[in-house]
């Protein structure tokens, strides 16, 4: 039992106990207001930072917060920004992110942030103010049914009904947010509860009989998985975000090395296996390399670890990896057989399951013969590079791929976190920024939320003050939450932003170029605003870079500067992200692969 407890502690996705003092907190047993109890609960839970925005129904919470020495409140400039900041903080640190918003419009502004966290299984506790209980349901001023609105994008939610439940509800919310498959939990607090007098007793344990995630994998299935791996000729480890949330990077990397199994990662898993590991092929799927996509598609065994066979990875599922058997390891039974049938499903915590699997492989002395497979993939890798000069980019233009490679070289992978917005720049970053550690590449994978990246970078900066935080943004995405420049400036948390500026909604425009006869409907932005002036107005340093030879010096200036810094990196509108799997088609139906240094192979007749 004691052993069991210890083992559970080791895994992020399992440890449900408070990070803080829990029941041993100094306020335990005191009588106080509901608002004070809420704040004391967050303190007992060990929260350090709250991202939020006040209003009428949360003013009492904020009043109680004013006395807290432990909790740092970060005033965002928009509730969406606050939730993405909490999300970025959670992704970067592995802790639960916490956000506050008031009722009505404050609460509705959190929805995109909550949905973004839900799709990527990020632990958040979002606390919203609600109108007093007596007024709920009467269309009173600034009332919105936020519990109803968010029902399909939360892991769980509470409409608090009694002030006695404040401590227990907060404890449960944190437990649920961070255990099992993590996710956002919403607590809606009618403001009259905050005035009531309560006896503060923070519990350490939760008792939710209906919530018992499975952590330990089935032994029989683990053995079956080991046998499949031992016999595989063309195995591939398909690594997803679950490996990051479970803290299983070391175990998965070791499994790959000891069994000599090539690895492909999803966007969410970038960094889970080091880029420098030769077996790591990087991103597969829609904009993945041909060699990574082929490794998946032509494999005879896919070992999926905390990955969910997203259509962005598999392309047309009916033609995906026709010869592969599947071992599917995931903590969420819903994922098993949801998209692709698994011959060996193992429901459990990836870290635990992979540890047992490795022991089992040792026991049966497995040495899958993967040499020929690795060599074959190596040949593809040489033949189909992600970028080379044969594509004929103009010498006087900034080339996004090269800029990303240079940025990657200049970043210390141990001491930096790269956060992206959504669009072409996100894909270039995923292709060319090398990462050695989990939680150092943050991106909205599941929902693809423009406007996520910049506030998430600000949140990451609060969580990881020792790291350089670089946000790679598009000019479109950046405009969705650029008001958060104020949050970074006022709190003195340095964030570096590189806007890959094509004066367009590049990813949309790319589709129009390739599939809609260059009819650029609503995808061009023009050179408004002047980002350098905007940055200046917020007290940031900034510069515009238009010539290729200026890229490296500018990045160096940005990285060596102490404060927040923005580079407006001007590229051509016509730059497209390749390779690209034709939408809705299989992984073999790809546009723009570079073949043997002969430039990109573009099939004609792009219009469908």
């Amino acid at each position: 039992m004691a052993d069991e407890k210890k083992q559970q502690k080791g895994t992020v996705a399992i440890a449900g106990a408070p990070r803080g003092l829990g029941s041993k907190n100094p306020k335990q047993g005191q009588t106080m207001t509901g608002a004070q109890a809420l704040i004391a609960s967050l303190e007992a839970e060990g929260v350090e930072v709250i991202f939020g925005y006040p209003g009428g129904q949360t003013i009492k919470m904020y009043d109680a917060l004013y006395d807290s020495t432990q909790l740092r409140h970060v005033l965002a400039r928009h509730e969406q920004g606050a939730v993405h900041e909490a999300d970025g903080y959670a992704r970067a640190t592995g802790r639960v992110g916490v956000a506050f918003a008031t009722s009505g419009p404050g609460a509705t502004n959190t929805v995109t942030g909550i949905a973004t966290a839900y799709m990527d299984s990020i632990p958040l506790v979002v606390i919203t103010g609600q109108v007093p209980r007596a007024m709920v349901g009467s269309d009173s001023f600034q009332e919105s049914d936020i519990v109803g609105m968010t029902m399909s994008v939360v892991k769980h939610s509470y409409l608090m009904q009694s002030s006695e439940n404040i401590a227990r509800t907060v404890r449960e919310a944190f437990h649920i947010a961070k255990t099992g498959r993590p996710g956002p939990v919403l607590i809606d607090v009618p403001s009259d509860l905050l005035d009531e007098e309560v006896l503060f007793e923070y519990p350490d344990d939760v008792n939710i009989p209906s919530y018992r995630p499975t952590y330990r994998g089935n032994v029989k299935q683990t053995k079956a998985a080991a046998r499949l791996i031992a016999d595989a000729k063309r195995p591939v480890l398909y690594v997803g975000g679950g490996v990051v949330s479970s803290g299983a990077s070391a175990e998965v990397t070791e499994l790959a090395r000891s069994m000599r199994i090539p690895v492909v990662t999803t966007l969410m898993a970038k960094g889970a296996v080091p880029s420098s590991e030769p077996l790591n092929l990087g991103l597969a799927g829609m904009h993945g390399s041909r060699y990574a996509s082929w490794a998946l598609d032509k494999s005879d065994l896919i070992i999926a670890c905390g990955a969910r066979f997203s259509d962005r990875v598999t392309g047309d599922i009916n033609s995906f990896a026709p010869e592969a058997k599947v071992i599917h390891i995931d903590i969420d039974p819903v994922e098993i057989d949801k998209v692709r049938e698994a011959q060996v499903p193992i429901v459990g915590d990836v870290k635990r399951v992979v540890t047992s699997l490795t022991l089992e492989l040792e026991k049966i002395d497995a040495h899958p013969d993967t040499q020929a497979w690795i060599e074959l993939i190596g040949e593809w890798r040489k033949q189909f590079p992600l970028y080379d000069e044969s594509v004929g980019d103009l010498p006087d233009e900034v080339v996004p791929e090269i800029a990303m490679m240079k940025l990657s070289e200049l970043l210390d992978p141990e001491a930096s976190i790269v956060v992206t917005e959504v669009g072409q720049h996100q894909m270039w970053a995923a292709q060319f920024i090398e990462r050695e550690l989990p939680r150092t590449f943050l991106s909205s994978g599941g929902l693809g939320t423009m406007g996520f990246g910049f506030p998430a970078a600000v949140g990451a900066a609060f969580g990881c003050p020792d790291k350089t935080i670089v946000c790679i943004a598009g000019d479109g995405s950046f405009q969705m939450n650029m008001q958060e420049m104020a949050t970074a400036a006022i709190n003195d948390v340095p964030v570096k932003v590189v806007i890959v500026d094509n004066r367009a909604l590049g990813m949309v425009r790319q589709w129009q170029t390739l599939f809609y006869n260059k009819r650029y409907s609503a995808s061009e932005l023009d050179s408004v605003p002047d980002f350098v002036k905007i940055a200046d107005a917020y007290g940031w340093k900034a510069e515009r870079v238009e010539r290729p030879e200026d890229v490296v010096p500018a990045i160096k200036r940005m990285l060596s500067d102490e404060g927040s810094y923005l580079i407006d990196l001007v590229i051509s509108r016509d730059q497209n992200v390749y390779p690209m799997v034709r939408p809705g088609k299989g992984l073999d139906d790809v546009i723009g692969v570079i073949d043997s240094g002969e430039g990109r192979t573009m099939e004609e007749g792009g219009a469908r």
Partner: protein, 166 residues
């Protein structure tokens, strides 16, 4: 790989709290499936309710729905009765046209189905009936001849046969 669409019966044991039914129902309706019948009530343990859901979906979606329901924190237990020996019951109230001259005929039909008359109006009768689906359909067919003004159903409840723990 198109599965057969079929009738599925599910018992969901949940927390007896506000909002729980909405969570359960929205998981099903979100996927565009129609719920044919639904009933809820507290169980032997007053902190829990049991929901009986009957819906028409293909087997693959059904598996997803049951897994997703299991994931809800308010759900304690799910029992799929689709292929299990089970007892299903529903209470139906029929309001039937029954002018004085037809009244005894209608009462006779009700008696035949062991249904009872629960309300008598000037020109109509309300019949309370319970039983299997076949029986209810049989009764409905016969009553149609007199003109049914209204049918109200409780929704089906179900339980497994034998001492299967539900």
């Amino acid at each position: 790989m198109i599965d057969q669409v079929g009738r599925h019966v599910l018992l969901v044991l949940v927390e007896n709290r506000p909002g729980v039914l909405l969570r359960v129902v929205s998981l099903i309706s979100r996927r565009g499936f129609n719920i044919e019948s639904l009933s809820v009530g507290p169980t032997e343990d007053p902190t829990r309710s049991r929901i009986t859901i009957i819906t028409d979906v293909d087997d693959e979606s059904w598996e997803q729905i049951t897994k997703q329901l299991n994931k809800l924190i308010v759900v304690h237990k799910i029992t799929d009765l689709t292929n299990e020996p089970s007892i299903e019951r529903e209470l139906v109230l029929f309001k039937v046209n029954a002018p004085a001259e037809k009244r005894s005929e209608v009462i006779e039909i009700a008696n035949l189905f062991r249904a009872s008359i629960v309300d008598v109006g000037k020109s109509s009768l309300t019949i309370e009936a319970t039983g299997s689906q076949d029986k209810m359909e049989g009764l409905e067919d016969l009553l149609r001849a007199y003109g049914i003004k209204e049918i109200t159903r409780t929704g089906k409840i179900a339980t497994a046969r034998n001492s299967k723990d539900v």
